[in-house]
């Protein structure tokens, strides 16, 4: 038990006919930051709720801290910190009371709850807003308060469901910094996100979920290596119709296809506004394209990111 905090085998969640989570296998070890990455509706939140013991498992096996959520829900929840997708702060209470009463829900003594609330106010940089109601706080402040609230019980495992969704870049970076500090303190994190940069920043290991299944898993680096190339060449091609009737862009794609698809064996993806060439050497690919007569409006060579992996695995169709 000590080497695995969460163990799922064939974990399945069904709502009527809809299968939200379709038999996933997952193991989360102490001290790591584990990510569930996927588009909306991939089954991330359903998985988190099952781990958080607020959603019964339909079938398969799930153990959290070596216990079964069906029979030991309260005991498991006592050791969990949960930061839900929506803040769900208590609007009838002040900032400080939100922290304090949450400690009381976990059975802390009044004095202990008060002492921890002090520390967490500082952690969340909300000490000067302690007596304010929750509603006037900014989105970033609410999120920090929600995370602070999840920490009042000093959990062994922190569940963060899309912790930075809807935040501006500054607030997001502040939050990543906070989460990074927690990780360094040895708190195990499980994060769901559809932000690639977030997964890259925070997660030691992650699974990419799509349609309730695990599409891939590994460290961010491994996933990029396995499912993507090292670099990506992005080309913007001119879509103007030429004298021969074909569009310039289409001709450019043909040329690129000849240049890479056949000759170099690179993968080329055509998007409405640009062409992506997955390659291990972006500059060389760009030169090859030039040599073939492709004249892009603009070009960009960048490192492959989890975003590329994600889109490769889950496709570009919009999911709602």
């Amino acid at each position: 038990m000590s080497d695995v905090l969460v163990r799922a085998r064939g974990l399945t969640k069904r709502f009527g006919d809809f299968i939200a989570v379709d038999g996933i296998d997952v193991e989360v070890r102490p001290g790591e930051a584990f990510g569930f990455l996927g588009p909306n509706g991939a089954g991330k939140s359903s998985t988190m709720k099952m781990i958080g013991c607020v959603s019964p498992v339909t079938s398969g096996e799930l153990q959290v801290f070596g216990m079964d959520p069906a029979t030991h829900g309260p005991a498991i929840r006592a050791r969990l910190g949960v930061c839900p997708q929506e803040d769900m702060l208590d609007g009838e209470l002040t900032v400080e009371e939100n922290l304090w009463i949450y400690g009381r829900y976990f059975g802390l003594s009044r004095r202990e709850a008060r002492a921890r609330a002090q520390g967490l106010l500082e952690f969340a940089q909300l000490t000067d807003r302690r007596s304010d109601r929750v509603e006037p706080l900014s989105g970033g402040m609410k999120r920090r308060l929600t995370i602070a609230r999840a920490l009042i019980s000093e959990p062994d495992l922190l569940l963060l469901d899309e912790p930075t969704t809807g935040l501006d870049p500054q607030a997001r970076h502040v939050l990543w910094d906070k989460l990074f500090r927690l990780k360094q303190q040895g708190v195990t994190l499980i994060v769901t996100t559809h932000y690639m940069d977030e997964a890259e920043q925070l997660c030691d290991r992650l699974v990419v979920m799509d349609g309730g299944r695990i599409a891939a898993q590994g460290s961010p680096r491994e996933l990029i290596e396995r499912h993507c190339s090292r670099e990506v060449l992005e080309l913007r091609l001119d879509p103007v119709v030429s004298a021969t009737g074909t569009t310039g862009a289409a001709r450019g794609v043909e040329l690129l296809g000849e240049a890479f698809g056949e000759r170099l064996g690179e993968r080329v993806e055509v998007l409405p506004d640009r062409v992506l060439v997955y390659t291990d050497d972006g500059e060389a690919a760009l030169e090859a394209a030039h040599a073939r007569g492709v004249r892009p409006i603009s070009s960009l060579v960048r490192r492959a990111s989890l975003e590329d992996v994600f889109l490769t695995l889950t496709g570009r169709t919009l999911v709602d």
Binding site: V54, P74, A78, P84, D90, E97, Y105, F106, S153
Partner: protein
């Protein structure tokens, strides 16, 4: 006992909402003055179902006490619970802690009882002050009010778990209003036609009123325990129902 933490949270929230308490207390007192003293000046005495003749204020005071316990309990267990359940999602946040749906149900019902008891205590003090309580048995009117609050808060909360929007609360008003007016509150049961009498006797407020009236007028008999049993059983059925419904709604 984690249900106690649910109560603690409400105490914390209501420290700033003491005005709500004031109105909950004021309403039945206004009725007591208007009906008991005002109408009482016209209707000098009433013959109760037990056959004794009492002043109108003395007759109506127990009914108003029962109604105030009902109103206090209903208000908290319906509007406030609905808001926390559907809008503020307070319960969802609470269920991420060791607190479970049963703790939630017990805590919220207990909190309604506390509110109901506080209104009743204040009302009882006023009723005693204007001389509308005849018997020392009247001291038991307060614990009796807790049973009334239990029945109404548990059933009210159970009904609330089925509500989809605030519009549905008209159904609560639809149930409460006639009960308030016709549960032998303002005139004795004997004045109703036979068919209606059975209907009146089936309502929970009737049992609350009959219980309070028996105690405050000193017309005490074993029959009063029947009223207590009715209210207690209704309360327990409601409490089990609430706990199941919360689990169904929140742990899906």
């Amino acid at each position: 006992m984690l249900a106690a933490r649910v109560i603690e949270r409400n105490v914390l929230a209501y420290r700033r909402l003491w005005v709500a308490f004031l109105t909950g207390f004021a309403e039945p007192v206004f009725y007591l003055f208007s009906l008991g003293l005002g109408v009482g000046a016209l209707v000098h005495s009433v013959t109760t179902d037990a056959g004794t003749t009492v002043e109108y204020a003395t007759f109506v005071a127990p009914a108003l006490l029962a109604s105030s316990a009902m109103n206090g309990a209903i208000f908290d267990s319906t509007y406030n619970v609905f808001f926390k359940l559907r809008y503020a999602r307070t319960y969802e946040a609470m269920l991420a802690t060791p607190i479970g749906p049963r703790d939630l149900a017990l805590g919220e019902i207990a909190w309604s009882l506390i509110r109901g008891a506080m209104y009743s205590a204040a009302f009882l003090a006023v009723a005693v002050a204007i001389g509308a309580v005849d018997s020392w048995w009247g001291l038991l009117a307060l614990p009796a009010a807790v049973f009334i609050a239990l029945a109404f808060s548990a059933v009210g909360m159970f009904a609330t778990t089925f509500m989809r929007s605030f519009l549905d609360f008209d159904f609560i008003t639809l149930a409460i209003q006639p009960m308030f007016l016709f549960s032998a509150t303002f005139f004795p049961l004997g004045t109703y036609p036979d068919a209606l009498r059975l209907l009146v006797q089936a309502t929970p407020l009737y049992h609350g009123v009959a219980l309070e009236r028996g105690l405050m007028l000193g017309e005490v008999g074993w029959g009063l325990l029947g009223h207590v049993a009715y209210l207690a059983i209704l309360g327990m059925i409601g409490a089990v129902g609430v706990s199941r419904r919360l689990a169904r709604l929140l742990l899906s």
